[in-house]
């Protein structure tokens, strides 16, 4: 596998770093080379939270990158903040429910994809698993890790929560699968809709 660069961004509290950590762990468990680095600034709370993940079979170079293969923006603010990471090879993903001005979207991208993650989470699953849908989408877009590895990493990270409430396990796995499907579907379709 050649190098895959993923940037995930959203509001603090949306679980951006959690999703990134789980993906990175999954890649590590599959014996791939992985680097995960969060952005970190002065404030404890607030500001856009960004996670940078790189996965490869070979030794990875610099921990940060200028342009990503996949950018996922989990909030409207995150779109503006991350559009600079997009060039003509980038799949730029955002939630199709966001109100986005055209000038906020990246000027260059291989494909701009809107997926209805928030809506699906709210209507079919649970608002809490919105970020897991996104995780599934990243896998669907890149195959950065196998679905099984992702499930295992999710299981191990949330084991304590699943123990208390076994229904959560099914919910999360379902969200993962739905996200993956959504992404695969959108790749076939073409450019997503701007709300």
């Amino acid at each position: 596998m050649s190098l895959i660069k993923i940037a995930l961004a959203g509001e603090g509290g949306q679980g951006v770093q959690s999703v990134a950590e789980i993906l990175a762990e999954a890649a590590y468990n599959e014996n791939k080379q992985t680097i995960y680095i969060p952005n970190f600034g002065l404030e404890q709370r607030g500001g856009v939270s960004i996670a940078f993940i790189q996965v490869s079979d070979e030794r990875i170079g610099a921990p940060k990158f200028n342009k990503a293969d996949v950018v996922v923006a989990l909030s409207e603010r995150a779109i503006g903040r991350t559009s600079g990471y997009s060039d003509m090879n980038t799949l730029f993903v955002y939630d199709s429910g966001f109100m986005v001005k055209p000038e906020e979207l990246p000027r260059e991208a291989k494909k701009i994809i809107g997926i209805p993650a928030v809506d699906t989470a709210n209507r079919q699953l649970h608002p809490k698993v919105f970020n897991i849908i996104i995780m599934g989408a990243v896998i669907g877009l890149t195959n950065v890790v196998s679905f099984e590895a992702a499930k295992e990493a999710l299981e191990s990270k949330l084991a304590y929560k699943f123990e208390k409430n076994p229904d959560l396990r099914e919910l999360n796995f379902k969200a993962l699968a739905i996200g993956k499907e959504m992404a695969e579907q959108s790749l076939k379709e073409g450019v997503g809709n701007n709300a």
Binding site: E25, T34, F40, I60, G61, A62
Partner: protein
């Protein structure tokens, strides 16, 4: 020394966590520290591991105190360490200077952040000058600049051994990216890798009855006469120079036929390595040189690498405004190779930054 791990284990953790584990594996007994981003987590992990392994910890009132408490601890014969960054590193130059003067086996981790002053909490390579030549001394220190988490683990163990064997203050120079990112590494007990940990010994609080078994130990860092100081400094310098050949560490690739050698250290060297591969594939004869010890600097080896072909240009790439450049120039004085710079103070450098710079100057 008690084994920390049953067997070596792979882990996917942050650089800060790796330091805590490596210090534990190296037999460190006590840590003193003070909060400053981006090295706080070294303390967070150490304080959680400490009770389990019978280790000590104190969060001091500031970095001056953290440095001086380590000086005291090593004087008493305990394996002690601290970690800091930025303005904390500035403050610690006072105790680091005392360690230089009194030849104390002090080990400290520096996680560079933007400077000067509060700068940023994120990343830089702007503490090179401070860590190699800070304080009011002659820079008789040993500085390891790591680039991967495996190295962070390996050189923490080595750092303690270096400090206790040679008694020059020893530093692991990392940065905020290495501190906060996660990468795979293998954690191990030193014995498994054939590493023998240097035994500690006290400089004060020795065994035996004074007057009968032994003399009292009188340690000082001040002298009445200029001539006394002169003798001491020259003695230290001679010792330092004598051990340089066995301490120096570096990495080089492709310098045999390189037209341009890219010189970098720490995490930037990862980007340089990638850049050289890409340049070569594009037909440009680039070479890679990376000092691992910034002090003592591998100047002999760098001169050889430059003169092998010889290289026409040397590109010094750093996330600072000339600190590696100045250090290198003083070490290779007399070489006539043209020196170019890629200075990106406080900002990460990726392979394409280096590639674009090389193309613009070739």
């Amino acid at each position: 020394m008690p084994q920390i791990f049953e067997a070596s284990k792979k882990a996917f953790i942050t650089g800060n966590e790796a330091i805590a584990w490596a210090a534990l594996a190296a037999g460190a007994e006590i840590m003193f520290g003070y909060p400053i981003t981006p090295q706080n987590e070294v303390m967070h992990y150490w304080t959680r591991l400490a009770p389990e392994y019978g280790k000590g910890f104190l969060q001091t009132e500031d970095e001056l105190s953290a440095g001086f408490t380590v000086c005291g601890a090593v004087q008493s014969g305990k394996k002690a360490f601290t970690a800091t960054a930025g303005p904390g590193n500035v403050l610690m130059q006072e105790p680091f200077g005392m360690a230089e003067a009194m030849r104390l086996p002090l080990f400290a981790v520096i996680q560079q952040r933007g400077g000067p002053s509060s700068g940023t909490v994120v990343y830089s390579q702007q503490e090179v000058t401070l860590t190699t030549y800070g304080g009011n001394g002659e820079g008789h220190r040993i500085v390891y600049s790591t680039a991967t988490h495996q190295e962070i683990y390996d050189y923490t163990i080595k750092g303690f051994n270096t400090a206790w064997k040679y008694r020059f203050p020893t530093f692991l120079l990392g940065d905020g990216y290495q501190a906060k990112m996660r990468e795979p590494l293998e954690m191990y007990n030193p014995e498994e890798h054939g590493i023998e940990m240097v035994k500690t010994y006290p400089l004060v609080g020795l065994q035996g009855k004074i007057g009968e078994d032994r003399e009292p130990q009188h340690l000082c860092n001040i002298y009445s006469l200029e001539e006394e100081l002169y003798e001491v400094v020259l003695k230290f310098a001679a010792e330092y120079e004598a051990i340089t050949p066995e301490l120096v560490e570096y990495e080089e690739k492709g310098c045999e036929d390189a037209e341009i050698i890219i010189l970098s250290h720490g995490v930037v060297s990862r980007a340089a390595d990638d850049a050289v591969k890409i340049l070569r594939a594009q037909g440009i004869k680039a070479g890679y040189f990376r000092p691992i010890t910034l002090r003592p600097f591998p100047q002999k080896q760098l001169r050889e690498a430059i003169n092998r072909k010889p290289a026409r240009k040397l590109l010094i790439a750093e996330s600072a405004y000339g600190q590696l450049d100045r250090l290198t120039k003083q070490e290779i004085y007399g070489e006539t190779v043209a020196i170019e710079n890629l200075f990106m103070p406080g900002v990460g450098i990726i392979d394409y930054d280096i590639i674009n710079k090389v193309k613009s100057i070739m």
